[in-house]
Amino acid sequence: MTLELDAVSRVVGGETHIDAVSLRLEPGSFNVLLGLTLAGKTTLMRLMAGLDKPSSGRVRMNGVDVTDVPVRKRNVAMVYQQFINYPSLTVYDNIASPLRLAGLSKAEIDRRVRAEAERLHIDHLLDRLPGELSGGQQQRTAIARALVRDAELVLLDEPLVNLDYKLREELRADMRELFARRRAVVVYATTDPREALALGGNTAVLHQGRLLQYGPTLEVYHRPASTEVAYVFADPPMNTVDGTLTGPAIELDDGTRLPSAPHLSGLAAGRYRFGIRPSHLSVRRLSPAQAEVPATVEIAEINGSETYLHVRHNGSAWVIQQEGILDFELGATVTVYLDPARLFAFDRQGRLLAAPTPPPPLPDLRA
């Protein structure tokens, strides 16, 4: 099924929650809806499902206008942040419930419930009640219930948020496999850029009710259309600093002077906003092309096996993402190495003008 949103808006009490979003999602596609909290992800999903009606604009499924069709007449399934199951029914009956409402035969229901439970690795829990399961198992039950009836549109609203770290990783790993070979349009909302990258597919970046960019996930990541996209689709967010490009050299407003890079050669001399990802800054020299910036350490936070180093240099703040767990003294001076070839250039309105060439894809080792 193809889902098409045509300039869909939703205004509640004079406040615009969704602002003229146009989007076309193809059958069998996996789409990540990425945005910060309150970006309008849930509202947009409710509009897609038909739980709410848009204030203006049309929703089409397979080219048919379904804007006024109520949700129960559409073939939609949804999974929520909370683990939504019928509390007094067993896992089996929970998964079977949409099929029973659809009036399928007992044998067919049994076959499909068991197949779906097996795919979600909960086939040994079919006799249990939701209250007796772990969070991960409850959410697997809810996902099985959503998938069992082969809905044409599957909406997942931050389904992993309420899970513990390990369970989240496990279920996320299973996620792509679950949706492979389905004809359904899958929409997966998340606030986490890393989740978007891990899930792949396409990504739509939503910010303050507006759709900023839609495209293959890696393409959106490598070529963020604006500083806003770069901000939403990166954790820690991209460092930005204003500066002047003068032919062979760049002078950033904090006084740093850098040589220009080949991918910036198409730009005219003038004022730009430059961006660089925290992972492309380093406190160790990695290549001779890197420029040096002296900076003062403000905070060092350890995140997993990485260290996020917050530094300041002449009024501009930078975050450096450094492999390994490193110990820095606060207030110490460090030299930050920066490769001009990794700079993004945006115009004064924040639109992308030049992006660094992404690294060549690794050979596919899965085969």
Binding site: V76, Y86, P87, G131
Partner: protein, 291 residues
């Protein structure tokens, strides 16, 4: 064994609770136990009588009558107030300015002192000047709660429903409000009927509050005293004499302290037993449904 000196300080920390419970519950209860096994004339003249008072009271036909009446009454109260309370809670608005209006209206009966409730209904239901009494008679139904045992009984029941259904409504309403919206959305997407939403989402989610409502209403109605005392005085005859009123008549009216003490203990044990039975039954019904 470790060789550390055993620290006894913890006992001092529990002491306030022990003292409070002793004075509020155990000591008064022991006084009653004391009276129930002795025949006491004055502080210096008392005889141990063993189980005599218990035997006497268990063979008392007034107790049998009151016990049956009490059970029928409490059962009726539960059968009417619980479904009615759930029903009203379901029809109440979930948000908006009508919520506070509804809540205040519902809370009103709960704010009226119990004996005043009796007085209100005594006047309200009077066949000569009461609004309800005159209205019912005007409809051609002969009604006089002061003379007819059935009328008196029904009046007490209706009065209790008026007084206490609000409590069940408020509990259920709070329970319903606690159900995340996503459950209703999920049901809508599933295409579940209104009945299915009630049966498989709302009712299981209300299990906890319903248990509290049933226990409270059972215990309270089983101990009902002030309202029928003011309304009918237990009459006509003994049609509306419930356990606590019979007990009071025995202890205060006739000063039969021994039998009254035995009666109190039996009464207490009945309430304890039934509360336990309800609690256990409800806990096992729909186990694991509290998430």
């Amino acid at each position: 064994m470790d060789d550390k000196p055993i620290n006894q300080k913890a006992w001092f920390l529990v002491l306030p609770v022990v003292v409070t419970v002793a004075f509020s519950a155990v000591v008064p209860l022991m006084t009653v136990v004391n009276y129930s096994v002795q025949d006491i004339f004055d502080p210096h003249t008392r005889y141990f009588v063993g189980t005599e008072w218990f035997e006497q009271i268990l063979h008392d036909s007034r107790l049998h009558g009151a016990l049956v009446r009490q059970f029928v009454f409490s059962l009726s109260v539960l059968l009417i107030e619980i479904p009615l309370g759930i029903g009203i809670a379901l029809t109440m608005p979930r948000r908006g300015r009508w919520v506070s209006v509804c809540l205040v209206l519902l809370a009103l009966p709960l704010l009226v002192p119990w004996n005043v409730v009796g007085t209100i209904w005594q006047i309200f239901a009077r066949p000569d000047i009461g609004l309800l009494g005159r209205a019912v008679n005007a409809l051609g139904i002969p009604y006089n709660y002061t003379g007819d045992p059935t009328d008196a009984w029904v009046t007490v029941l209706v009065m209790d429903v008026w007084h206490w259904t609000s409590l069940v409504v408020l509990l259920c309403y709070a329970g319903l409000q606690a159900i995340p919206d996503a459950f209703y959305q999920a049901a809508r997407i599933d295409g579940a009927s209104r009945w299915a939403v009630f049966r498989y989402i709302e009712l299981p989610k209300l299990r906890g509050v319903l248990m509290i409502a049933i226990l409270l209403r059972f215990m309270d109605s089983f101990m009902i005293y002030a309202e029928p005392f003011v309304l009918t005085g237990g009459g006509p005859g003994s049609a509306t004499t419930f356990l606590s009123q019979l007990l009071t008549t025995m202890a205060v009216g006739q000063f039969d302290l021994g039998p009254a003490a035995a009666f109190s203990l039996i009464y207490f044990l009945i309430i304890l037993l039934f509360s336990y039975v309800f609690y256990t039954a409800l806990t096992h019904l729909g186990r694991g449904a509290n998430r």
